[in-house]
Structure formats: structure tokens, C-alpha cells
Amino acid sequence: MKATGSLPAGRSKFKIYRDKLLAPYIQVPVLGWLAGLLISTLLETFIGPYLAMVLGMSDVPALFGFTVVLKQPVLIPGVIIYLLIIYVLPIAIGARLTKSLANYIAGKLQQYPFWISAVIHIVLLYVVINTWAVMNDYRVLLAKLIMIAVIVTLSLNVINGYMGEFSCSHPGFIALGAYTASIITVLFFVNDSVLGAALLPPVLAPFLFPVALILGGLMASLFSLLVAVPAFNTRGDYLAIISLAFTFIIKSLLENLQIFGGARGFMNQPNLATLPVVFLWTVLAVWIINNFVRSTLGKALNAVRDNETAANAMTVDTKKTKMTAFMFAAFWAGIAGGLFAHVMRYVNPGSFGIKKLAEVLAMVYFGGLNSVIGSIVGAVGFNLLSEMLRPLEIFKWIIIPLLLILVMIFRPTGLIAFKDFDPKKLLRAKNKKEEDK
């Protein structure tokens, strides 16, 4: 096949072969893919460690073998075999074999209210993530951080993608959410040297944790007015500069609050952000933000981005729309910050500076503007890439920026930009012809 790659005849043969191989998979519904993933993760749980030992690896490769290969190139064939046996083949075969069953179930589920189907899919997704992650602590941490990154990226996409402004204030919002939520949980549930003994029994902690997170989000959204009020009086790039100043102000303020550790940071947060909690918040964030951008308000936001004067003429209250969206995005950034603080169980102002800003912006523009799916892809892809290239040490920070520059040059609005995310369409059975189109 590879010898005839340049010949048109050979290529078409290859194309036919490829189409033949991939044809059954067009009809696989999301349920089928989830089943395949479940099989693969279960397989890894049961035979993964033995297989890894047989293939000469010390342990199950944590991140699809990338880190292992970069450290010991000798293991490349072993890792490829491992990936084939554990991931590629089970997913492919599992999805293929369960296709008709999955389509049948998905078709049946379509007759019930949509939320039943949604809940079933989400539970399955959680089971997949959980079985994959519990193999080692590193994966759990990574999964949590990736899910938090998804929330952050989505919320920034509301401003930079859907509203079309350039905001640099997200590190500030994340920091506000992180500190507010941490202070509340530490005040109530931890015997802290500064904030005193725990006021409530720790049994209540999981129930009050959402309240703390929401208060953190509200704090961020309150402070976002500080940026929004001056910035949205005039159109233009002043949001960029005001929001940048805001980030510096928040960072500097936190560094000067000696009561919360100042520049040394604030620690001892209770261990409340477990994998299911973070997962639930992420699902909630994706769901609410997706509904927000598909609502009338979201469409008004797009109108404001494309032409503010025309939107105004079409009865859109531009200032109110922008303010609402900005506060909404800040709220979710604050929630993500609270989760981040309780995952790391330590926050310091230094982690909410320019570096964080570059990272968040990179995730948004890598994934794609104006697109919920793009943001998810961007956050997951960027974080996985950044973890996989970790063995390269500082060269990682040459390769990732280069990759982003290439993405920007060839797809200036990101990988998957301007795509609507319709969960109903996504979860539908795929075996029928789309007669209802």
C-alpha cells in the first residue's frame, strides 16, 4: 500500500479499502462508542498490569505510553502492541459488535424524555472515566485537572469566542473563586491556625461544598463588574487592557493579604473535590454553558460580536447582553477556581499570573472559537499533549507553542470552530436514515 502511495490508482484502492473498513463505524451511536471504551478500560484494569509486565514495562503506561516512549525509545514496539491490545482493538471491536444493540437501545431511549437518555450516557461516561482513572493516582489528578480546564476554557470561550472580545481577566476570576471557596471550607471544616477551629462537623462538608463553590463563582462575577463597567462603555480593545490590569491587581492583592498566606499561598483545603464531584460540576458547566450560548441571549451575543450597531438596531440591548455574558463567564471561572483549589489543596497567587493566562488562551484558540465541542477538545487535547511531552522538559515549551502557531496559521479560528453542539442530535441512534431532517 505504501509503495503505491503516489499513484492515483493505488491511492484510490487504498481509499476504497479504508472506506470499507470505516463504513460500519458511521452507524455506531455514542452509546456504542461508550460501550467500546468501557470494554477497553475494563480490559486494562484486569489484564493491563500483566500485559505491561510481559511487554517489558514496569507498570501500566499512564498516558497511552507517550511518556514511557520518550524516556526509553526501546519500548516503542511494546507500547504499540499494548495500545493495540488494550485500546484500539477493544474499542473498534466492541463498538462494532455492540452496534446493533446500542442502536436498538438508543432508538428505544428516543421514545422517552431526553433526560433519561442523557443521564444514562453521562453515567456510562463517568464509569469509563472512573475505571480508566483509578488505575493510579496520577491519572485521577490528571482527569480532575482536565475537567477543570474544560470548565475554564468553556467560560473563556463565551467571552473570546461568542462575544468576540479579547479578555485577559480569567486568571483573576479563577483566583477569586479559588480563594473564596477555600476560605469558606477552611473556615467551617478545618482547624486552621488563622481562621480558627472548625465551626461545623466535617460530615456536612460535602453538602456545603457546592455552596462554597457557588459563593466563589458569585465573588468572581461580582468582581467582573470592575472590568465590565469601564470596558463596555466603549467598544474596542480596552477590555483587553483593563482585564489585564485586573489580573495584575487581583494577583497583587492576594500577595498582600498576609492573613491568607500572602505570596506563600493558602493551604489545608479539605479533600472535597473528588472525581465524581468534579465530573458532576463539569457536566453541569457544559450543559448550562451550552444552553446559554444556544439561547436567545447567546444568539444576541453573536449578533453583538458580528455587528454591534446592527444588533442594537435589531432591539438587542448590547450593553446588558455583554455584561450578562461577562458575569456568567466569570461565574464559571470562579467555580473552576474553587474546584482547582480543592483538587490541589493549595493555592498561591503566583499560579494565577501571565502563565495561566497564556495557557487558558492557548486552550481556547487551540480548540476553536465559538464552539462548545471545540473548547472541550481544546482543553483535553492541550492538557494531554502537555502531560505527554513532559519528559522533554523545557523543549516541551518550544514544541507546544510551535504546534499552536501552526494551528493558528492553518486554522485561524481553532480546530473545531463555529460548531453547534446539540446533545439530542449527538445521542441519537444512527442506524436509521435521517428522515426527520
Binding site: N233, R235, A240, A245, S252, A362, W397, M408
Partner: protein, 307 residues
């Protein structure tokens, strides 16, 4: 009073760096309407080029047993660094901005940010994490003018910064190239149709901005002789704020705002503890921008939307 004057001089010196770097931001912003986020790191590269040139010249003089007067070394260092850094700026434009000229402006901002990270990391990878000491080029002499202490370094920095700003202003106002740049800033679409070479003018803009950043880098090395790969971040982002504070595309405005930022920072430290510097300085900037949303010398925002 003496204390005040002393800090005024310090503020002038500290503001010189901001002013020179801010001009680079402002010129690019004036013409292309985009934030050149790599500019802070171009400043860093300029400082390193200055460091290698100065070290090389000193070593060359020592080997050849020539006694070069210090002003010759400084002038040569400055000129070589400015000349070479102009090419760095043009390369950044060629790689990061020209392919994206029709793309949303924010995408170009991202490539700028990424080029900045590449420059920092590349420096770290090539030269290691150790900081470099800029060779002492002039022997510090302190003049006591009725209680205010002024070193000859400070005089050099302030004079060079002011004269470069003034020269650039003259260039923009009174030469044909400057006229082309002003026309380009006025209308990016029509001006090329009048026969103004678009790419040349934009490259020239980046070259001038980077040359000024290199000058700032050399001066910075003379005043604070410790260079590190991340030195561009602090100066660069603050100068970016100053550039916007001065007003869109206004050379003198952004220089003035750079000096103002220097004053603010020095005077904040004079009154409050130094950890409060960023907090108070940026709060003042936020207040200024709330009441003067177009900066000091900028026109009201009227550009077409490119995103």
C-alpha cells in the same frame, strides 16, 4: 523636596525602559491593530544581543590591546544590538503575523504570545538557566546637585531614551516613510492601493519597534546588570499597559505614558510598602482608563471590526 526630586529622577530612569518598549507596542498597534505580545521577549533578546556584543567588544579590546573609550563601546553596542534586533522583529512578523493578516486579530495575538514563549524557552535551552551579568561599560560617577544624587548612568539612560523618542517622532512626522506609516495607520485598506508597499512598511514598523526595544535592553543592562530569560515578561506586559494608556498608535503618547508608569511605580514605593506597587499602580491605571477610555492621546475607537 530633595527626596521628591530624587525620586523624580529615579522615575524618569525607570520610565525610560517602559517608554522605549511601549513605543514598539504602540506602533504595531497603530498600524495593524493587533497586540504584539512577543514584544516583551523581543526586548529580552535585544538585551542579550547587547550583552554578547558588549562582552565581545570588551574582550576584543583586551586581546588587541586597544584602549577603547567607554562611549565608543556603548555606542557600538547600542547600534549593533539595535541593528540585529530589528531583524529579530522582522522575523517575528514574517513567521507569526504575516500569515495571519486576514485572520481574526486575536489569532495573531495568540501566535505572538506563543512566539514569546518560544523566545524565552529557546533562550533557556540555549544559554541555560543561569543569569548573565552585563559587563560594566561605564564607571559610575555620582553628581550631587544640591542634595539630589544623579549618576552618569541615569543621565545616559534618560538622555538616550528621550532623544530616541524625539528622533522617532521626527521620523514619523517629517519623512516619506513616516508619512506612509501614518497613512497606513489611518487606513489599512486604501493606502496600499495608492502604491505604498504594505509588507515593507509593516516590516519597517516591526524593525523600528524592535530596535527601540534593543536600545531599552542595552540601557536596562547598564542600569541593572543582571539578565535572565524571563526579564521581558515584567517590563513587556507593563509597557503594553503603558502603550494603551498613551493612546492608540500615538508615539509621544505612549512614551509619555511609559514615563508616567515609571513615576507611578517609583512614587508608590516611596509612600507604600514595595509589595503594594503593582496593586496601586494598576488600580490607578484602571481609574484613568475608566475616565479616559481612549488613553491620553488616542482618538475615539472607530476602526472596523476584524474579528
Amino acid at each position: 523636596m530633595q527626596y521628591f526630586l530624587q525620586n523624580l529622577v529615579n522615575g524618569l530612569q525607570w520610565g525610560s525602559f517602559y517608554a522605549l518598549v511601549a513605543i514598539g507596542y504602540s506602533m504595531v498597534y497603530g498600524i495593524l491593530m493587533l497586540f504584539n505580545f512577543a514584544h516583551g521577549d523581543i526586548f529580552m533578546v535585544g538585551a542579550y544581543i547587547g550583552f554578547f556584543t558588549a562582552t565581545g567588544l570588551v574582550a576584543l579590546a583586551a586581546v588587541g590591546n586597544i584602549i577603547l573609550p567607554s562611549w565608543v563601546i556603548i555606542t557600538l553596542t547600542m547600534l549593533i544590538a539595535m541593528f540585529l534586533n530589528a531583524f529579530v522583529g522582522m522575523a517575528v512578523e514574517r513567521i507569526g503575523y504575516r500569515p495571519l493578516r486576514d485572520a481574526p486579530r486575536a489569532s495573531a495575538a495568540i501566535t505572538g504570545l506563543m512566539i514569546g514563549i518560544i523566545l524565552e524557552t529557546g533562550n533557556l535551552a540555549l544559554l541555560g538557566a543561569s543569569r548573565r551579568a552585563f559587563p560594566p561599560l561605564i564607571k559610575p560617577v555620582t553628581y550631587n546637585i544640591s542634595g539630589v544624587f544623579i549618576t552618569n548612568q541615569k543621565i545616559l539612560i534618560i538622555v538616550v531614551a528621550l532623544s530616541l523618542t524625539f528622533m522617532l517622532h521626527l521620523f514619523i512626522r517629517h519623512t516619506k516613510w513616516g508619512m506612509a506609516m501614518r497613512a497606513m495607520a489611518y487606513d489599512f485598506v486604501i493606502t496600499p492601493l495608492m502604491g505604498v508597499p504594505l509588507n515593507t512598511i509593516i516590516a519597517l514598523t516591526f524593525a523600528i519597534g524592535s530596535a527601540l526595544a534593543a536600545a531599552a535592553g542595552v540601557l536596562f543592562g547598564i542600569a541593572y546588570p543582571v539578565l535572565g530569560p524571563y526579564m521581558g515578561i515584567i517590563i513587556g506586559w507593563k509597557a503594553f499597559v503603558a502603550a494603551i494608556l498613551g493612546g492608540r498608535g500615538s508615539i509621544l503618547g505612549s512614551a509619555a505614558a511609559g514615563f508616567l508608569l515609571g513615576f507611578i511605580e517609583i512614587f508608590v514605593v516611596m509612600i507604600f510598602p514595595s509589595t503594594m506597587r503593582d496593586f496601586i499602580a494598576y488600580s490607578i491605571i484602571l481609574l484613568i482608563l475608566t475616565f479616559l477610555p481612549n488613553g491620553f492621546f488616542g482618538e475615539p475607537y472607530s476602526a472596523r471590526l476584524r474579528l
